[in-house]
Symmetry: C2
């Protein structure tokens, strides 16, 4: 007896070389695993279930994967864009007034936003993750989490632009210990939904010794390393000044380039560096919306794809992107790369959809567990409404417009039902595990309190403050 | 006595040089016009109304303007992207099987999609507009409409690539007459909601004589000319071959460059040509999503803005973009242009919002009627929910994140209420003037029938057919 069967739906299995559409398909689930995938008539003939979910004029597909998100910055949505030197002029001023409670409250809304647009797996890369992870357990999402490790003092306000960051080994050890505590307490918890990674913040932000210690620990725990790599000219300048080498050659030299590495952004990576990284088996995580807004740059994803399929998409953070929605990332990734290549044929819809499902799962070391509808895999699925105007009409021949419309037209609000690890966490757009209204109300209050504390920042000489003072915002 | 007052809302008036935010504001409406805009306490002290609408934790702002849309192609959503030679390999094969009824049914869903994401004014540029305009009168939207005029036979399948289009004056006259019939029957109808333009399809698609006739008629009716200009290398090649001149110098020579011209796309316009056009008082209409997908090109909007503010955004058409949502266009316009300029400061959120409201209204010759919340203007307004996760939290100082979140985070589903010409056409996301379910059901049926007719196209040698045959779609 199965727990439930979703039937009469248009399945996008993401099995095979394309997207694996099965018209009039069904998925049967027992516990947290997919038991059967097939034609509806066959499945209901062979299996009984406690519950039947009718998916007529609906799409059933794997849950989406957000491979890089800082949910702890959610409360800063919309406060850091349209500026140069995003980190210094946009983000850091507000980091001064950000509390741990703000991070928790913002993270919750971020995760809610993402779940409501179909994200089921999050690589959440933030601090304090020992707290933030509780939002994932509360809502029931799948998460690969880590603490961000660096060796730098919090207050770098005295540092001149271009000056080398000071390293303090005691800070590094303290942050490393937080990551290890997370690992000891949370790795493989919640029925395996929560897994832990090592999270060095960037090759420029810590000593070689600490990077090597992190690497050894990733091997010891047999897990992956989630790290910003070549994320800006700021990083490259630090690396050259300190080591006489750019980020990727340096990482190659110290043995970081292999399948354990999830390298995020690569904004400043050359074509050759990108190839070296891709051939090593490492993953590239591409944050199209965020890097477009923050830097005005289209990262070398096309170059990476020349040598590897281990490319996954991430929404990054709310102050900058400013949303956390994989439908947004899909469309931006396609169009930005078409414009970069001046070729509308590149980054077609089917390939883009793989970057948030099966290719992403493989890139994150979860290809055996999630990313496609296959018997034996974990039951992470979403159901979308084909009667929303963005998905209308459904044409199935001679060309099937389903996947193009998902990638180029859908906004995320087409998602009706979200299932993670066999559990329904959203039905009919109502979240079942968390009180959305309360979470939103808390966030508005936290935003108002943040505004009060941030009033001391009014003398900031930043593009956004200038716009505000001149009445443009 | 007013008809209604919307109160306690965060108003974005779009008056002044920025976005004109008024916290805790109210708008009073009588008939189809805005009577008063001000602080809630002042407005309710001075005015009584038949109805009061509470907009606590909501945004009240002018309805959005889609300055270029072909709603008649809505039924072809998702059938023409990821291809080179979009028009020939993507669009034209399906045009062979497209009926007038398909156009009506697809147009209705397109307009519904757009209204549900806050669009209140449409420059609908399609054929047969004598029919399509009825969808706008049914739903209650504001529309500036025209027939597309060209002088070419429908069947150009025998034409070699690069060969000059044949012109047939009788075809040109027939299409011109359709535009004139539209003008006579519909201009200023529906309380002024429907206005008519002249719609030559492009400078390459008709003789100089017909273009001049169109121009004289636009002057006679004191209206504008909606035309594709420099929309592709295909057009430029035709122009050089026929006249020895590129599109914009040719149009300048024949007296087309002035405030009456709405020039759409400018994909192939040089910087100098763009400046000439902008300085003439003509409008540029920028379709970021569509041209990004169709051509992989970012049009010269930055260049245009150097000399003129008459820039408006358009969603173009469903086979190609593949959605018709001005929130989509806003975010794409910002990010694509940041990436083109490699500068995150350009195309800031406040400027982008003007491109779909007040700047668009002025560009389309409607600046005195719509585009901002100002007493005396037509009551075209939308109300958005600030409790949707994409808009959370609202921070109001030292930087106000409202407009950045509207432009970069909102997806359109935050729009709850839509008012056009003083009439509520959507409340609580329910359309009041049209049966959405029926429209969607009709479109699915029409899509299925189209699929049957299009089966004869299976031998197409196009990138999408290849993807389909190889199992990628």
């Amino acid at each position: 007896m199965l727990d439930f069967i979703i039937m009469n739906g248009t399945l996008i299995t993401m099995e095979g070389r394309g997207v694996g559409v099965l018209e009039d398909g069904a998925v049967g689930v027992k516990g947290n695993r997919i038991e059967v995938v097939g034609e509806t008539s066959e499945v209901v003939k062979q299996y009984k279930a406690h519950r039947y979910v009718d998916a007529t004029r609906k799409v059933v597909m794997p849950g989406l994967i957000d491979a890089h998100i800082h949910t702890g910055l959610g409360i800063l949505r919309g406060l850091s864009q349209d500026t140069d030197q995003w980190m210094q002029k946009g983000l850091w001023p507000f980091m001064e007034v950000l509390t741990s409670q703000d991070r928790m409250i913002g993270s919750l809304v971020n995760i809610i936003e993402a779940v409501k647009s179909g994200t089921t797996t999050f690589c959440d890369y933030d601090s304090p993750m020992l707290e933030l992870v509780k939002n994932h357990t509360l809502i029931g999402t799948r998460a690969r989490v880590c603490e961000m490790i660096n060796e730098m003092p919090d207050d770098l306000s005295g540092l001149a632009v271009g000056e080398l960051y000071p390293f303090d080994p005691s800070i590094g050890q303290q942050k490393l210990q937080a990551n290890l505590k997370l690992m000891e307490e949370w790795h493989q918890r919640e029925n395996g939904r929560i897994t832990c990674l090592m999270g060095p913040q960037g090759p420029d932000m810590m000593s070689k010794e600490l990077l090597l210690e992190v690497k050894a620990l990733a091997e010891k725990y047999d897990t992956m390393i989630h790290m910003h790599v070549a994320q800006g000219d700021r990083e490259i300048n630090q690396m050259i000044k300190r080591y006489g080498k750019r980020s990727i050659p340096y990482l190659e030299e110290i043995g970081y380039l292999n399948r354990r590495l999830m390298a995020v952004h690569l904004t400043e990576a050359t074509r050759e560096e990108t190839h070296v990284l891709g051939k090593s088996g490492a993953t590239m995580i591409l944050c199209s919306g965020s890097i477009g807004i923050i830097d005005g740059i289209i990262p070398p994803a096309a170059e990476f794809l020349e040598v590897s399929d281990h490319l996954a998409l991430g929404s990054d953070q709310a102050p900058g992107n400013n949303c956390n929605n994989m439908f947004n990332e899909m469309k931006f990734t396609a169009i930005l790369n078409k414009c970069k290549a001046k070729d509308p044929k590149v980054f077609p819809a089917w390939k883009i959809l793989r970057m948030v499902t099966i290719d992403a799962a493989r890139a994150l070391g979860l290809g055996h567990e999630i990313g496609s509808l296959l018997p034996g895999k974990k039951a992470d699925m979403i159901i979308l409404d084909l009667d929303q105007p963005t998905m209308v009409p459904l044409v199935h021949k001679p060309i099937r417009n389903l996947v193009p419309n998902l990638v180029y037209s859908a906004k995320g609000s087409e998602v009706e039902t979200v299932i993670v690890d066999g559990q329904f966490i959203m039905e009919n757009r109502n979240l079942l595990t968390v009180d959305e209204k309360h979470a939103v109300s808390q966030a508005h209050q936290a935003g108002a309190a943040l505004a009060e504390r941030a009033s001391s920042l009014v003398d900031l000489d930043t593009p956004l403050m200038t716009m505000m003072q001149q009445g443009y915002l």
